[in-house]
């Protein structure tokens, strides 16, 4: 019979459970990775570099256990919420840094780059939509992205955006109407 002390056995078991959690988390993250990138792009004004940075931070936060999935919503919805908050925090930091640099006579980097980004322009697919979306309020852009791009319901979109369902519905209705008008105008031109 083995004479290994019980605390050591428990520690080994805990380590195994943690490793399992890590593997499982990675598997789940990988499964929704493409969707996360799309959402991160929407949260970062369609700047792919910013979106990558945000995703790195989010994956670190999740894998380190600083953000824990509690099972109250789907994993994807929960992760979208983490991405939104991380992007918002990053935007605030960038704004403050820009403010300091501006004080020192440097030019501040625009918060949401206009859709004249070289990468964006080189890709003609969806360009009309991107241009039209750029004319909407940020909340309207986000709720429309979550509903049409990510196929979430308005209720789920509200959970991701941390707002009431009523507010989300208002943003959704106004954004959709405005986007339809903008796309109609672009088609007529």
């Amino acid at each position: 019979m083995s004479s290994t002390p019980i605390p050591l056995i428990l520690e080994a078991a805990n380590a195994e459970v943690r490793a399992m959690d890590d593997v499982e988390l990675r598997r789940q993250l990988e499964r929704v990775h493409a969707d996360c990138f799309g959402w991160a792009m929407a949260c970062c004004g369609r700047d792919s570099d910013d979106a990558e940075e945000v995703l790195q931070t989010v994956y670190l936060t999740v894998l380190d256990g600083h953000a824990r999935y509690d099972g109250r919503s789907s994993f994807r919805t929960w992760l979208f919420g983490v991405i939104r908050r991380t992007a918002a925090s990053r935007r605030r930091t960038a704004w403050l840094r820009g403010l300091l640099l501006e004080r020192n006579g440097e030019r501040m980097r625009p918060e949401a780059p206009a859709p004249t980004d070289a990468k964006v322009e080189s890709d003609s697919r969806g360009e009309t939509l991107r241009n039209a979306l750029a004319h909407l309020a940020a909340r309207q852009q986000q709720v429309l992205h979550l509903v049409f791009y990510q196929d979430l319901t308005v209720d789920e979109a509200a959970a991701v955006m941390g707002m009431s369902v009523g507010s989300a519905r208002t943003h959704y209705a106004r954004g959709k109407a405005r986007l339809a008008t903008l796309l109609g105008d672009a088609r007529d031109l």
Binding site: R26, L29, E30, H33, A34, F37, G38, M41, S48, E52, L55, Q56, T57, Y59, L60, L63, D64, K119, D123, R125, G126, T128, L129, R130, L144, H145, F148, Y149, K176, A177, L179, A180, L183
Partner: protein, 121 residues
């Protein structure tokens, strides 16, 4: 807005999603960068130590700089014996002419020209 419009809207978003799919960086790539960042980061339990050390260094530097500015210089000369290093420029030829008050009706050159009264002296 008609249903047709909504379908069109969905199609536009679908096109955007397809365009984005081509640009999605691999999960492994993002994950690896995140892991590198984690390795570079100071471990959570060491952070108070690092912050404490930084504060101590800052305080020591402050007091060291303050002490240096307050300490008197080692060989400070007394004001009565001190001579300005530029004093040498004040001695010029003919400076003695300006050393005394001129008198009315006299010339500054009188002091230089030998007179019968001071010739013998």
């Amino acid at each position: 807005m008609t249903m047709m419009d909504e379908r069109e809207l969905r199609r536009s978003f679908e096109q955007l999603r397809e365009a984005d799919r081509d640009r999605v960086p691999g999960f492994a790539q993002i994950s690896e960068r995140a892991r590198t960042r984690r390795r570079l980061r100071v471990p959570q339990r060491l952070r108070p130590l690092v912050i404490g050390a930084a504060v101590v260094v800052a305080i020591l530097s402050f007091f060291q700089a303050r002490g240096r500015s307050l300490a008197p210089a080692a060989a400070t000369p007394a004001i009565t014996t001190w001579r300005a290093p530029t004093d040498v420029f004040l001695t010029a030829p003919g400076i003695e002419l300006l050393g005394s008050m001129p008198t009315l009706g006299a010339s500054v050159l009188d002091k230089m020209i030998p007179t019968p009264s001071n010739k013998g002296t």
